[in-house]
Amino acid sequence: MTLLCRRWFVASLLGAAVLSGAAWLAHLDFPRKISTDVLDLLPAGERSPELALVRTLASDAEARVMLFILTDATGAPAPAGAARLFAAELARRPAFEAALAIDDPAPREALARALFDRRFTLLFPRWLHEREAAHAAGGGDPAHFSAWLAADTAAGLGRFLAQPEALAFQDVIPSDPLLLMPGLVRRLKGGLDLLGPDADASASDAPTRVWARIAVSPLSEEGQAPVFAAIAQAAAATRAAYPGFAAADTGVNRFAAASKARIQHELSWLNALSLAAVLAVALVFIRGAHRALHLVPPVLVATLGAWVGVTAAFSRVHILVFVIGAMLTGVAVDYGFYLYMQAPAHPGEDYWAKVRRLKKPLLSSCFTTVAGFCLLLLSELPLIRQLGLFVGAGLVCALGAAVVYFSLLGNTWLEARPLPAALVPPAGVRRGTRRLLVVLWLAALPGLFLLKWKDDIRELEIPSPALQREDARIRGLFGDRTDRTVYLTYGATPGEARAALARLDVWLAAAGGPHTESVNFGAVVPTAEESASAARFVHDRPDFPARLRTALDAAGFDAAGFGPFFEAYAQYAAHAAGDTLDDTVRELHARLTGPVSLLLHPGPPMAWFVTLAGGAPSAPPPPETQTVSASQLQSLNRIFGEYRRSALRLSLVGLAIVGGGVFLTYGLKDGARIFAIPCGACLGLFGLFGWLGQPLNLFHLLGAYLGVCLTHNYSIFSATSAYRREPPPVSVRLSALCTTASFGALALSGIPVVHALGETVASMVLAALLVIEFEHFAPLAGKP
C-alpha cells in the first residue's frame, strides 16, 4: 500500500467513524435522553424502599404542586373572586391537573360531605374502639357493653349540646348522635394549625392563595414551558376581569427550569473556556502555533466518542455528566501531546514506526486511566457510572483518533519551545524547593484528621438566590413551618400503611414531649383491626339500635328525631365487612382535592400516610413504624452520604490495584517513589482542605480519583525519563498544565460539585507537576 493510499484509507476510516457517531447523535431524542432531574442521579433499582417512596412522592405528588400568591393593582391581596377565577382558568388548561383557591370553602365542604357519607366505614370503627377501651377501663362487663354504650352515647350527646360547637353540628346530629363528625374535628383540632395559616385567612390583610397541581412532572419539558405559558394565559384572563391582577408563584418546575438554563449555559462556556485554556497553554509552549490546532481534532473525536458511548449505554443520561465530562478535554489532549511532540528517533523515521516505538507508554498510560474510570462502572450511583463510561470511552477514542489523525499529517513532530534559561532555577534552589514541598506536605498531613464531609444533594443544583427567596416568601404565606417535621409512613397496602401509622402515633406519643402535636389521616382512617371489630359489633350486637333509642328517650331526647341515623346504621350493619378498608381508603382519596390530597396515597405501588408533627422527637422513628422522617432533602442527603462512602471504598480498591502494579513493576523502593506522587498529592491536598475547614463531598472524592490516575501517568513517564538521565518529558509538563488549565476552568463553575471537582483535580495535578519539575525522580538516574 502506498503512502497516499494508506492516508486515504486512514482518512476514510476516521471519517466513517465520525460520520457514524454524528448520525447516532442526530437520531437521538435529546429532551428524552438528557435528564435534568436531580433524582435521576440516584439509582432506579433502590437499595432501600424509602428511596423508592421518596422518589415516587417527589415525582408524582409533592413536586407537581405550584403555589400562587395573588395581588391586585395596589399590591394588596386580590379579592376572593379573582382567586376563584384564576384557579378555574388554571384548572381548565391541560397543563394543570387541579387548581383551587385556598380560601374557597367548596373543596373542604366536599371533603366534609365525603367523610360524612362514609362516617360508618371510616369513623365508626375508631369511635367504637375508644368506647370499648373506656368501658374496659371502667371495669365494665363485656356482656353489658351494648347497654352501657347506648346510655353513654345519650349522656355524651347531652353534654355535647351544651358546648359552643354544638350549634355548628345541629343539622347533622339527627344523622350522627354518636358524634362521629364532632369527634373527628376534636381529634384534628390540635393538628389543624400544622396544615397552614388558615387561622388568619379571614383577616383583611390575609394573602390570597391558590394551590395547583400540574399534570406532568415538573422536571420534564412539558412540566415547564407549557405550564408557564398556561399561568401567563390564566393571569391574563383574570386580569381582564380584575385589572391590575398579578400572580406570584413557586414550584419545583421554576427551579428545574432555572437550573437547566444555567447548566446549559455552563455546559457551553465551560467547554469553550476549557478548550481555550488548553490551546493557550499549547501556544505558549509549542513552536508553530497554528500547528498546535492539530491537537483539536483528536479531542473533538474523543468528545464525540464519549457522547456516543454514554448515550448508547444508558437510556437516560444526566446533563451533569456532560458538564463534568469537560474534564475529558484536559485528559484527551495528553495523547496528542505525547505522540505529536516526540521527536523522531532518527531523521526520516516513519510515523507508524514512531507509533510502534511509543505504543508501550501510550497504551499503559491510556489503559491505566481507562481502567480506573471503568472501575467507576461498578458504582451504584448512576452519575458516577455514566461519568466513568463517558471518560473511559472518550479516552479510548482520543488515543485511537490521535494515532490515526497524526498519520495524515506530513510533519508528525510538533517541536516544543525550550524553556528560557532564566526560568530554570539552579540546582540549589530546586533542592531547597523540593525540601520545602516535603515540609509543607508533612505540615498538611495532620489536616486529614480535620476533614469534614458535607453530603448535600443541593450542591448538585446551581444556587438561585432570587428564586429561593421568592419560594421561601410564598411558602411562608402558605404556612410552611420550619419547626414542622414531615413523616412518611408506608406499606404495600393502605391497611399495612395504616397499621404502621398506628405504631408511629404510639411512638410519637411516647417519644415526643408535652408540646408534640401531629395531624394525619389516622384521625379519619381506622386500622384494619378496628374496621373488622366494628363489623363484628354490628353483626353480634343487633340490640344496640333499640337500646340507643331507649337511652335517648330516657335522656330527654326525641328518639324519632334520629331517624336518619338509625336508617344509615341499618344499612351499614347490613353490609359491614371487615376487609374493605383498602377500597374505602381509595374511594376517600379519590374525593380529596387540594393540599390535603397529599396527606394520603393509596398506591400502587406503595401506600403512604403523611404525618405533620410539631415539636417532634429529634430521634428518627424506629424501623417498625415503617416511617421515614421525610424531609426529602434529609433522606437524599443521607443516601448521598452512603454513596460517597461507597465511592471511597471503590476508589481505595482502584488505588490499591494501581499501586500494586507499580510496586510489581518497579520494585518496592522505586515503586514507592513513583507512587508517592499520586498518593502524596492526594493526601497533601486533602490535608490542606482539612486545615482550611473546607467541607468535602462526593465530588472532591471523584476529583481525587481522577487526579490520582493522571498524576500516576505523569509519574511513570517522568520516572522512565529519569532512568535515561533525561529531564521530565515536555509532554508531561504540557499535559499537566493543560489539565490544570481545563480543570481550573471547571473550578470557576457556579455548580458547587463541578467547582469541587475542578479545584481538586487542578490542585493535585499542579502539585504533582511541581514535585516532578523539582526533580523528585533524580535519584532514579542511571538505574536500569
Binding site: 370553602p105 351544651a162 359552643p164 360547637e165 354544638a166 350549634l167 353540628f169 388568619d200 379571614s202
Partner: protein, 216 residues
C-alpha cells in the same frame, strides 16, 4: 365541614329578635339605613365602649324535648368585639371580632378555617353591635320598631343560602341595653340569649382583654 363552622359562627351571633318577630318582619317596619328615628339609639349604643352583663342561653333542638340551658358573662367591646364566656357548663369562651371567630378553652385557642359566609355573618354581627344600619343593609333586610325606650330589630338575610343557614336574627333592647337576642331557624330550632342588665360599663382592664378577647 366548613358549613359546620359557618353555622357555628352564625349561631353564636348575638343580636336577635323578639317573640313576635313574624309580626315585625313586615314592609311597614322596614328600616331605611339612615332612618333619623333610630339615630339617637345608634349613637347611644356606639357611645358604650365596654359592657359586661350576665346572660342565659337557651338552645332548642328539634330532636330534644327540653332546651339546653347555658349561662355566662357577655362582654362587648367597641374595639375588641364580642366575648361570650360560659360559666355553666364552664370552660369555654367564644370571641367574635373583626378577625373572625375564636373559641378559647383550657387546651388553647381554636380558630375555625376561614369561610367567606362565616366571615360575612361575623361582620354582620359586629355591625349590629355598633348599630351600623347602613352596612347591615347590604346583607340584611332590617326591620325595626320602638315603643318608648323599648325597641326591637329583626334582620332577614337577603341571600337565600345565608337565610337558610342563619334564619332570622332578632334583637330586643331597652334604651342602650340589649336584652334579648334570638337566632331563629324554626320554632323547634332556635337559640335565645337573655341578657341581664349590665353589671359594668367600665373600660376593660388589660387582664380582662387578655382573658376574654383575642390577643392583638
Amino acid at each position: 365541614m366548613r358549613r359546620i363552622f359557618t353555622v357555628l359562627a352564625l349561631a353564636l351571633a348575638p343580636p336577635l329578635a323578639a317573640a313576635d318577630t313574624d309580626l315585625l318582619v313586615a314592609p311597614a317596619h322596614l328600616l331605611a339605613p339612615d332612618d333619623p328615628a333610630w339615630q339617637d339609639l345608634a349613637a347611644g349604643l356606639r357611645a358604650q365602649t365596654a359592657v359586661t352583663a350576665d346572660f342565659t342561653e337557651n338552645r332548642w333542638f328539634p330532636f330534644k324535648k327540653t332546651p339546653t340551658v347555658l349561662t355566662g358573662e357577655v362582654r362587648v367591646s367597641a374595639g375588641h368585639g364580642l366575648s361570650l364566656h360560659y360559666l355553666d357548663p364552664a370552660g369555654q369562651t367564644v370571641v367574635i371580632d373583626d378577625r373572625g371567630l375564636l373559641v378559647r378553652s383550657a387546651s388553647g385557642d381554636t380558630v375555625p378555617p376561614a369561610d367567606p359566609r362565616a366571615g360575612a355573618a361575623n361582620a354582620a354581627l359586629l355591625h349590629v353591635l355598633r348599630f351600623d344600619l347602613r352596612t347591615l343593609a347590604d346583607t340584611f333586610a332590617v326591620y325595626g320598631r320602638r315603643t318608648g325606650t323599648a325597641w326591637q330589630l329583626a334582620l332577614v338575610p337577603k341571600d337565600a343560602d345565608l337565610r337558610r343557614t342563619l334564619g332570622q336574627v332578632a334583637i330586643e333592647g331597652d334604651g342602650t341595653a340589649v336584652r334579648r337576642i334570638e337566632l331563629r331557624r324554626s320554632a323547634l330550632q332556635r337559640v335565645e340569649i337573655l341578657v341581664s342588665p349590665p353589671t359594668s360599663t367600665a373600660a376593660f382592664t388589660a387582664d380582662e382583654l387578655g382573658r376574654f378577647f383575642r390577643a392583638p
